[in-house]
Assembly symmetry: D3
Homo-oligomer: 163 residues x 6
């Protein structure tokens, strides 16, 4: 069973990593799919986001990282995936993801969306919160995977100072 875990990952957090690890235990193969969304301004380029994800998933044999800039339903067909994985942290996540799942089912009835929940201790972590804290020089070590923490700090401080 091949599963796709799509997202912006701008940047990847320990919450994302938690979902990747869980999905990799359930499914034979997991593609973490980085959305290149032209209408959304990202703090990291899609190349940087792919690179950070590759670093944090190094050694996970059934996990691959790719970027895509098409409709998720089309990308799933192209890859031959039967499952889309989404992480749920909160109510507001749920409602949006629920609507997306129903829309994707309309567009590609052969792909099923499954929801996983990360641990309670990761429930409050989001990429935007990481960026907000790092933007003010706060400590993000507890929120992003250790092996990329320094890179993210450098990148986000640079991002802010160059504005």
């Amino acid at each position: 069973m091949l599963a796709i875990y799509p997202g912006s990952f701008d940047p990847v957090t320990v919450g994302h990593l938690d979902i990747i690890i869980r999905a990799a235990k359930i499914f034979d193969r997991v593609i973490v799919a980085v959305l290149q969304n032209p209408s959304k301004i990202a703090s990291f380029t899609s190349e940087e986001r792919v690179m950070l994800l590759r670093r944090v998933t190094a050694g996970m044999e059934n996990v691959e990282i790719e970027s895509f800039h098409s409709l998720l339903a089309d990308f799933a067909i192209e890859k031959g995936a039967q499952v889309i994985v989404k992480g749920l942290r909160a109510m507001s996540d749920f409602e949006y993801e629920f609507q997306m799942a129903l829309a994707n089912r309309h567009l590609n009835p052969d792909v099923e969306t499954v929801f996983l929940t990360s641990g309670a201790e990761n429930m409050f972590i989001s990429s935007s919160m990481v960026k907000q804290i790092a933007g003010f020089g706060g400590n993000i070590d507890a929120f992003v995977p250790m092996c990329i923490s320094e890179d993210i700090k450098i990148r986000l401080n640079r991002g802010v100072s160059s504005k």
Copy 2:
């Protein structure tokens, strides 16, 4: 009883059409009111949005389309409407609309807000989702009224390509 059904309709979806049909069965006359909001960037001009709505409501005798760029409470007074109709799809809709209903009651106590729900199959359809899917070249036929589907596809692809 005259009812106003306000919204952005950027563009009109089958979910909106469902609410219009339901409202037209309950109230003697329904004005679908297209908000021209200067602070929000729309994909369709208000003229286009009015034109698309006129096309999908052609033949509905007690439904009219108008655009407005004032406070809803003032527009309701101007038209002599006693009822504002809002469609509810989800929790998050409810909370926002609930606050708007209470605010409008303060501004114009003579107008009552009534909420209708569209069919379950339309619950996940929103204008922004239609635009997102069309922007990636996806099939929006199930989400917008058939008679305007082609126009919307042409318009939204043009919008993307010209960016």
Copy 3:
């Protein structure tokens, strides 16, 4: 347009009365329908609940009180009603009522459910809270219509003392 406003009304609160007044302004005729639910233990008999509602709606010419012990969808057909009115106070109300509205639409597609909201100051008032407060001898004057306040206090204290 004939509307039905169904509920337990065990007992009627100022929140219920608020919805009745709003519905009576929108619709030609409103039937307040007291559900006799054999599986739910009520504090007031259905006769008492009808009587209290008649008292608080005395003088409202287009409002009638009835009790019913059938499926709401069937009762609506029997009465020739085109509209079911429900009051929304909170999220949890919304979710339940939303599911009921979809079920009723399945059972009787000719009847539309419309939701009204009571004033913000009534949002926290429920029959069960009234009973809880009165059961401890608290003051319920702000929560039930004045003309029946004494009767409810006597009835609920008796209920508690006789347990």
Copy 4:
């Protein structure tokens, strides 16, 4: 991958069946596990509930029906299951299931809970609503699998008439 889909199934609805079909496409083997909860009064005995589920899943080769009266986390270990499947219909489902998933993870860290959503048209269907409608003699054909509809009607009417 062996998955367990636990529930009361009192009785099984088309919403439950929808989740079973989806789970059976994703996982190698699915055990539908009927909870015998001594503290909850069920309308159907656990034997009846198992029998109805067997009937509606006849021909689904990787689906089995069992009943259990232990802790779900223990039952999963006993069966060697790595995954618990839960269906999500609404916010309130989500919150409760989310707390259960976190508790089960504490009790058995080797089992992952995955959430599936049924189709939008099944979102408003619950066992308790089926019982409520059948109790008033309403038509439940759209809410329960066709092959068991008659049995449920007979059983639920008998239940009501014998009260």
Copy 5:
């Protein structure tokens, strides 16, 4: 500033204890108030619940345990408390507690309700879940304060076996 932390505490969990510790840091004096609710069947008597709370708060100098069987608003006046403390774990908590806070404000405008949140790791813990897990012989050590864990297990297993 004297604060009251009311609840059923049937039995006290690590989530409750977390809130007590936080409240005791903010307020000069905290009364943990055990509600004796005649209409709710408790697993532990109010004497047992008080005793368990005394045990887990032993050594906390500004914390006292009392039971009450009146309206919370009246109990607050009687004690001279200016603040009611409530713990929030989840949405559904929030909505109910919000309505209670507004009702209590009506009944006693001099008392303010403040909400505290327990740690994320305690978010899924409730007294009813503890009882459900213990009832099936599951391990509740992570969910209740260590010094009373054995007593609760003995008591809840006895409770189940005697049914």
Copy 6:
């Protein structure tokens, strides 16, 4: 006990003022802290927002107004505050604030977040709604403190006309 009440206050509403008054009754000293967020475009400068808050809290002896442009957790340490006060109006507020409270606890475990609720009649009032209504020339007198109502109207109309 020193409490910080942080926010954008763009501009201050009667809902904010309600929370300030409640907090000032519970805590010895309250600092209303105006966030200067470089990434969010405000309608009022932080100087204007501070000035408006000073005007509406004139005479409240234990309330001070400051602006800050650092991480809230750091600002709390700098000021020696033990408590962060947040107002809750609605579900969506709650979810976001809950995540912020957990994040702040990670960043500064010595500071506790407490939530207060404003009166029901203020539940629908937000700064963005005030700006939207004022932008269309609507009457905002019921939504902002009287003593600054004129200034806000002048400022927001100028803002719109100059765009």
